[in-house]
């Protein structure tokens, strides 16, 4: 009985302190509004990429259904991942396994399109590495700002699964980056795409998952 009484008092003391420290909070914007802001950022990046360094044959490539489908699928996977990442930050609106599978399916189909590109056997190793490193760098650069913005947006919420949220943030940023880089890279060689576009993006998503695990954990509330 004594222990129960102590527990009751501790609980009441805690409620008293929380109530005393209660401050007005700014509610999170709705998921759609935050998603629209983030997509605006991505659209700006696409515009910059197209204006400043699009491949010379972009109009002809866009007319190619396979190319268009590949880029579109990466964009759709990116939008979906972004929406799920923002939702993952709201308790009770967690991402279901079916939704995750859908993102994986769409991105998987997009990667299959990449595999269907011809392989160029006549590239010197030094050229392969030189051109590839530049593309890998572009993948990182185009993902950096959207990734940071999305991480900040998700951290404003209260993600209950930090690893999932981290992975989705990475997926959103890197799938978009894959689409943008595809519009700029003129090397139509599947070995190049896989080695210097897809693999760096997948590594980025993996690192994002780890970053999410570290930086999106539930913050411990400390009472003084």
């Amino acid at each position: 009985m004594g222990e129960r009484e102590t527990q009751r008092e501790t609980r009441q003391a805690m409620i008293d302190r929380l109530a005393a420290e209660l401050q007005p909070v700014r509610r999170l914007w709705p998921v759609n509004a935050r998603l629209a802001m983030w997509l605006l950022l991505e659209a700006s990046l696409i515009l910059i990429a197209v204006v400043s360094g699009a491949r010379a044959d972009l109009p002809e490539k866009i007319a190619n259904a396979r190319f268009l489908a590949e880029v579109t699928l990466f964009v759709i996977a990116g939008v979906l991942a972004a929406m799920l990442a923002l939702r993952a930050a709201i308790p009770g609106r967690e991402v279901t396994s079916h939704e995750l599978e859908l993102v994986m399916l769409i991105s998987g189909v997009a990667i299959l399109f990449v595999f269907s590109e011809p392989a160029n056997q006549d590239v010197a190793l030094s050229e392969f590495i030189h051109a590839g490193a530049r593309c890998a760098l572009c993948i990182g650069i185009f993902a950096a700002i959207p990734w940071t913005a999305m991480l900040w947006a998700v951290r404003r919420g209260a993600p209950t699964s930090s690893a999932t949220a981290g992975g989705l943030i990475g997926a959103a940023a890197f799938f978009f980056s894959l689409a943008i880089t595809r519009l700029g890279c003129a090397i139509d060689d599947r070995v190049h795409f896989i080695s210097w576009h897809v693999i760096p993006a997948l590594i980025g998503i993996g690192l994002s998952l780890l970053a999410g695990t570290a930086w999106l954990r539930r913050k411990k509330f400390l009472l003084e």
């Binding site: 501790t10 609980r11 805690m14 409620i15 109530a19 401050q23 909070v25 509610r27 308790p91 209950t160």
Partner: protein
């Protein structure tokens, strides 16, 4: 909850009074060790306080509330099992389910302690609280099929422990 978001202390107290019993029951289903229930309850209160800005007034409170409670309880269980594994390596062998001298079988409460947290939750919701499978599945955040599997496994385990 909207008033809580605006910083209304009285509304916050009223809310905690209203939700306290449901949160307590929920935690009791998740945490086997009764001595830790109060700690987890207080952790849930802190988490609710911290996450209050994430509540969307256009949506029902219950899923938001129980998602936070579930997350805190899962964190706690994870820490508990990590600690238990470490103690298993250094401590005594695990205790037996029935007393070998008296031959008594464990009662229901003891037997429930042998279920996994999700099995225990399914059993309590269906058989002790009388929820329908749909209601219980919604509260647990899983499909009806998944809940039925959990409940079935819980029945099998309990049958073995109690009936023998």
């Amino acid at each position: 909850m909207e008033r809580v978001q605006r910083g209304d202390s009285l509304a916050f107290r009223n809310l905690l009074e209203d939700i306290g019993p449901s949160i307590s029951n929920f935690i009791r289903r998740k945490i086997a060790d009764s001595s830790e229930i109060e700690d987890v309850f207080q952790e849930v209160l802190l988490a609710l306080y911290q996450a209050r800005h994430t509540y969307e007034p256009s949506r029902p409170l219950e899923p938001w509330l129980f998602a936070i409670a579930r997350n805190v309880a899962a964190d706690h269980a994870h820490r508990h099992w990590s600690r238990a594994k470490w103690q298993d390596l250094t401590d005594l062998p695990p205790e037996v389910a029935a007393d070998p001298e008296t031959g008594t079988q464990p009662d229901l409460e003891e037997a429930l302690g042998h279920l996994t947290p999700v099995q225990r939750e399914a059993f309590v919701m269906l058989k002790m609280e009388g929820l329908t499978t749909t209601e219980a599945a919604r509260r647990a955040g899983v499909s009806v099929g998944a809940l039925k599997v959990r409940a079935h496994r819980a029945y099998e385990t309990l049958k073995k422990l109690i009936v023998g």
